[in-house]
C-alpha cells in the first residue's frame, strides 16, 4: 500500500510518502491510522486527533470507515484550505 502525507500531517511524520504492507486486521482508514500511530512518535502526533484528519483513497475523498485494499493509494491530510 502506498501512503501519502500532506501539510502538517507530513510535517509531523517527517516525510511525504511510504510503502507498506499492512497486517490482515488493518482493513479501514481508521484502522490504518491506528496502525500507523505505532510506527513513530511523529505518526502518533499526526494521527492523535482523527477529527482533524481527512483521507483519500485512490485520489477520492473517503470517510474514515472506508475499506482498503493493498493496491490502494491512501493519503492523509488536514481539511483543505485552497482558493
Amino acid at each position: 500500500m502506498r501512503i501519502l502525507y500532506f501539510a502538517w500531517v507530513r510535517d509531523n511524520i517527517g516525510y511525504s510518502q511510504e510503502e507498506l504492507s499492512c497486517p490482515k486486521h488493518v482493513r479501514t482508514i481508521n484502522q490504518l491510522a491506528e496502525y500507523l500511530k505505532l510506527q513513530s512518535e511523529g505518526h502518533a502526533r499526526a494521527f492523535d486527533n482523527m477529527n482533524a484528519i481527512r483521507a483519500a483513497r485512490n485520489q477520492q475523498f473517503v470517510s474514515h470507515d472506508t475499506e482498503l485494499s493493498d493496491t490502494d493509494e491512501v493519503a492523509f491530510f488536514p481539511p483543505v484550505t485552497g482558493g
Binding site: F6, Q59, A75, P78, V80, G83
Partner: protein, 155 residues
C-alpha cells in the same frame, strides 16, 4: 469548454477572458483570489500553497464539469497557483462565460465555493513568528453545502 491549470506562474486575466470569448458569449464573470497582508494572527511575509498532484487536477475538473452542467456555461477556466507567494500575488483564477450574466455569476460562485472545500490544496503562512498552517473555515463548509439545497438561478 473547460480548461484547468495548476502552476507556479502568475496568470493574465485579460488573456483568459479572451480565450473564453465567442460569438455566443455575452457575459464573462471572473474571480481572482489574492494574497492579503494579514495572516490569521500576524502580518504576513509569504503564503505557500501545496497540493496533491493528480488529485487536485481531477478535483478541479470535477467542480468545473458540475458547474457547466448546473448552469448554461459556454466556457470555464480554473487556474490555481502553487508554491511560495507574496502579499498581493494572485492565488486563484476562476472564469465563467455564458450567453447571460446570471449563469456566469452563479458559475464563478459555485466553483469558488466548492474549490474551498473539495480541492486538495493547503496554505501555510509565514510570519515573523514562524510558519503556521491555515485552518479550515467553517463558513466555507457552509457555503458549499448551501448549493445542495439551492436551485440554480436562470438568467
Amino acid at each position: 469548454m473547460i480548461k484547468i491549470r495548476i502552476q507556479q506562474e502568475d496568470f493574465d486575466v485579460s488573456a483568459e477572458i479572451k480565450s473564453m470569448s465567442s460569438k455566443t458569449v455575452g457575459a464573462i464573470a471572473t474571480f481572482s483570489g489574492v494574497v492579503r497582508d494579514s495572516s490569521e494572527s500576524n502580518s504576513l511575509i509569504s503564503l505557500t500553497l501545496e497540493h496533491y498532484p493528480g488529485m487536485s487536477e481531477d478535483a478541479l475538473e470535477k467542480i468545473a464539469a458540475a458547474a457547466m452542467q448546473k448552469g448554461s456555461l459556454e466556457a470555464v477556466r480554473i487556474i490555481h497557483r502553487v508554491g511560495r507567494l507574496l502579499p498581493e500575488d494572485n492565488i486563484v483564477f476562476v472564469g465563467c462565460a455564458s450567453a447571460h450574466r446570471h449563469a456566469a455569476f452563479d458559475g464563478c460562485r459555485y466553483i469558488m465555493d466548492f474549490l474551498k472545500t473539495d480541492a486538495p490544496f493547503w496554505k501555510s503562512e509565514e510570519t515573523q513568528e514562524g510558519r503556521i498552517w491555515v485552518s479550515e473555515r467553517k463558513k466555507d463548509q457552509n457555503a458549499s453545502k448551501s448549493w445542495l439545497s439551492k436551485k440554480t438561478k436562470k438568467s
